[in-house]
Point group: C2
Chain length 250, copies 2
């Protein structure tokens, strides 16, 4: 029997319609259908106090354009968050945040309930951060709104929920899962326009295939992402593969 975990995710945004794509495509759609996740989208404008439903105003001090108002976030907090017996964990996607990675996704996937605050990615009233549990940055670049970063975080973390990804494509085979880049992948045909699938993958010898892939994984990481390799704690098995890899070159 497969273990199931249900997570509840709420998103506060001025563009609720953008999140239709999560509900209509791919792995998240399936996760919703299997009731492994419930996703609710809230319109930030419903929490404004003025008749024009304004959510941003010019920033103080000049030269920093429009800044998202604190008020609507706090009103949502008062009405939605404080009404709950268990406080959901509030995430603010922001370039100032902790850098998102597989480990952080795994941590977030353990929460029972998550709330994402989507604001202008470059400017939200600093006081909103007082009610945020974690600012998360998806990378060292700046988008216009927090909506797409929120989708990145949701799609990534849902992969860690049992039952979301089929057993054949386990997240354990993903890049970064064990601190290394993934090996390469091939499918039919064996010979595509003169480019052949490595013989060993057709051998049926699972032990040799495993070693071949481990070698590729280590080599790719060393060549493309030495920074990851430096951080990686090598297992005895990985060291043995490294020895073979280097012996083969001499």
């Amino acid at each position: 029997m497969e273990q199931t975990k249900r997570i509840k995710i709420s998103v506060l945004t001025i563009f609720p319609g953008m999140f239709d794509i999560l509900k209509n495509y791919g792995v998240i759609k399936k996760a919703i259908e299997k009731e492994l996740v419930e996703i609710d989208i809230f319109n930030l404008r419903d929490y404004t106090t003025d008749k024009h439903k304004i959510t941003d105003k010019p920033g103080y001090g000049g030269q920093n354009g429009m800044v998202m108002l604190a008020e609507p976030f706090y009103r949502f907090y008062d009405e939605f968050i404080l009404s709950k017996s268990h406080k959901p964990y509030i995430v603010l996607p922001s370039p100032q945040g902790k850098v998102f990675n597989n480990d952080l996704a795994f941590e977030l996937a353990k929460k029972e309930e998550l709330v994402f605050f989507c604001g202008r990615y470059e400017g939200i009233d600093e006081r909103v951060k007082k009610i945020v549990d974690k600012e998360v940055s998806i990378g060292d670049y700046v988008l216009t709104g927090g909506e797409i970063p929120t989708m990145v975080i949701i799609e990534t973390l849902l992969r860690f929920l049992p039952g979301v990804i089929g057993s054949k494509t386990s997240v354990e085979n993903d890049s970064f899962y064990n601190g290394l880049l993934d090996h390469s992948h091939y499918t039919k045909p064996q010979n595509f326009r003169g480019m052949k699938v490595p013989e060993i993958l057709l051998s049926g010898n699972h032990e040799r295939i495993e070693t071949f892939r481990k070698k590729e994984s280590l080599l790719k990481t060393i060549l493309k992402r030495p920074d990851l390799f430096i951080k990686k704690e090598l297992s005895e098995e990985e060291k043995k593969v490294l020895i073979v890899l280097i012996q083969e070159m001499f």
Copy 2:
């Protein structure tokens, strides 16, 4: 007169509908309306050769689930890319790629025409990479498809096109633009639930505000992202601000 640059972006995907959100919301919608960018979405299934329009098959070697077929990407390449007088620059979002950041976004924004290949993020036939100019990873985590990463890259790079972002919110004020995190932002009201806007931002003294922000920017970077600070080349002005910052503590 504002300088304009027009960029053409094409996306190849099994989920063309997902990209409606780029055309319907925010900064990209405006950029399309201003004719600063043209975005065309192509359905990968239109480039399949079998009657079931299959785009993936089980991977060779076992235990790696479904892998995207090379054929449809090559057919698109033959029909779309090779028909052009100038070869577009092909980007494959992939966890194995060069880590995306503001600098890479700036480089991509200089291209005349970009093509994004969206496949399963964890597995695409290795031979597709022969026709790709750059594999790009949006961060050290794994999504299911290349669609959301493609949107991240498009939204980020479009911000570097003149005319896309209003003059008041220049990308020059963004986090990472000068290698530092952005200062904080505040808007009305001055006193929000007892939390006040720093006095200096209300002073109207632009020189002092500039120094205050620089100080905040440096301090935030040192405390939250020492890795960025280590990589940063400090200007004379920034060093002076650092001196003041440290003198104030003693």
